[in-house]
Amino acid sequence: MIALLRGELVKTLSTRTLLAFLIGGVGFSLLNAVLVAVASGTLRGASQKAEALSTLPILLMVWGLVGAAGEHRHRTAAPAALVARRGRATLLLARLAAYGVTGLGLGTVMTGASLALGLPLLRDQPGPDLDLAQIGTVVAANLAACVLSAIMGAAIGALIRNQIVGVVVLLVLNFAVIPLVAGAQEGLANLTPFGASSILSGMTHDTTLSIAAAGAVLAAWTVIVAGGALTSERRRDLA
């Protein structure tokens, strides 16, 4: 399993896609810090300030999806399965784990960028600054959101096997459908992976779910989607 994980990590590190997502993720994190801490008026309370430090989990979901579905677009899934010395499901499990690891790496850099720019900017806001425990919670929650989103994205990619369809569906759900659902039934939207990741990353706050509960919801969704992908992988043709 370690060899499989290493092999899958080499894959993710040996193209420019990771760099592109890293630049995009850091860019968004910095933009978000500026927009929330400077341009959105007065921030009151820790949760509003934490929003300035949030990352973008949907980006990590797209990262996982593009990578895993790309295995089928570029037909690299078949040669990998033919040499892996393990079953297809084990290989896919290693792939999901590799996207979890890269999600952690991307999340760490994105969160670091948010903290580096956001914390100094937040000092101009009224009220007490975020204390170490609150910053620790923001960091842990954002990293969890990034890791789980990357794994879920990879699992969706393995299920859909089509990058364009997958990305379009994700973006439509995240930016169109879920906000509409949230407008009508906020509690229901929070129980979706998109709603839960938004709460976990601090983008959505003062809502029906706590950060811990949102983490549990996102973890549950990740397990369900990954389970579906692993089951499907055993049954479907690879080429």
């Binding site: 060899a3 499989l4 290493r6 092999g7 899958e8 080499v10 894959k11 040996s14 193209t15 420019r16 896609t17 790309g70 570029h74 037909r75 690299t76 078949a78 040669p79 990998a80 399965a81 033919l82 040499v83 892996a84 010395r85 393990r86 079953g87 290989l91 049954r235 043709d237 690879l238 080429a239």
Partner: protein
């Protein structure tokens, strides 16, 4: 050196349907060790689909495939046992040829040095650092062959490997495959280049419309005064233009 020839690859009533389309109707054939077996048929005859089922990439609608006597659907794939090249090459265009092989070597638990060995074998040692997207068709073909050879396998299954190769590459491949057979290994090779294949294969499997229409030794055809090309046209109902 003599080898005891055994049936290494067995297709037993393989069939594959995609909805209403039947890609492979009913294919049964065997491939022995110590020989190069040519797998021939017109476009759309079901060759590639049959090869995919034979190596476990596609699940048959009916029938079974066996490798070394074991059902392929219960086998754990191993690059040391079987090397496969099925078009297209299957490499990320943004990844270098060397990185592509390195990922597969890592997945297969093979030493990194093996990557350089196969790059040299297929003549891509200089081009290994370049991105696959910049490769010519022949170079992609060589990369696919490098993947198949990565584990120095006992069995090679190659789908139209001469496509895009230059004359030197074709001669190299012919020598390589003959050497593999001489070592007692098993080679199954599909090709449309019959004149070239006639210089390489020992046994012949001809398929048409999803079924095997002939299996036997090339020498049997030649003994009847038929060239491979003539026999192919007769068996597949085609004509020479």
């Amino acid at each position: 050196m003599t080898h005891r020839h055994t049936q290494v690859l067995v297709a037993d009533g393989l069939a594959k349907r995609y909805g209403r389309v039947t890609a492979v109707a009913d294919m049964s054939f065997t491939v022995r060790s110590g020989a190069v077996t040519g797998f021939f048929g017109p476009n759309g005859a079901g060759k590639t689909t049959a090869l995919k089922m034979l190596v476990g990439l596609a699940r048959p609608t009916a029938g079974r495939a066996f490798i070394n006597g074991a059902p392929v659907d219960s086998m754990i794939p191993d690059a040391r046992v079987i090397g496969v090249y099925i078009e297209p090459c299957g490499a990320h265009p943004g990844r270098s040829g060397r990185a592509h092989l390195r990922t597969l070597a890592t997945l297969a638990g093979l030493p990194r040095a093996r990557v350089d060995e196969v790059l040299t074998t297929v003549g891509l040692d200089e081009a290994g650092r370049r991105r696959v997207g910049k490769y010519s068709m022949g170079m992609r073909q060589r990369l696919g062959l490098a993947v198949a050879l990565l584990g120095d396998p006992q069995i090679l299954v190659l789908d139209e490997p001469v496509n895009g190769l230059d004359p030197r590459g074709i001669a190299w491949l012919r020598t390589l495959l003959r050497e593999q057979a001489a070592l007692g290994r098993t080679v199954l090779l599909s090709s449309h280049v019959l004149s070239e294949a006639a210089q390489t294969v020992d046994d012949v499997v001809v398929v048409d419309q999803g079924r095997v229409v002939h299996q036997g030794a090339l020498s049997d055809l030649e003994g009847r005064g038929e060239s491979l090309e003539l026999a192919y046209f007769n068996l597949t109902g085609g004509t020479q233009s």
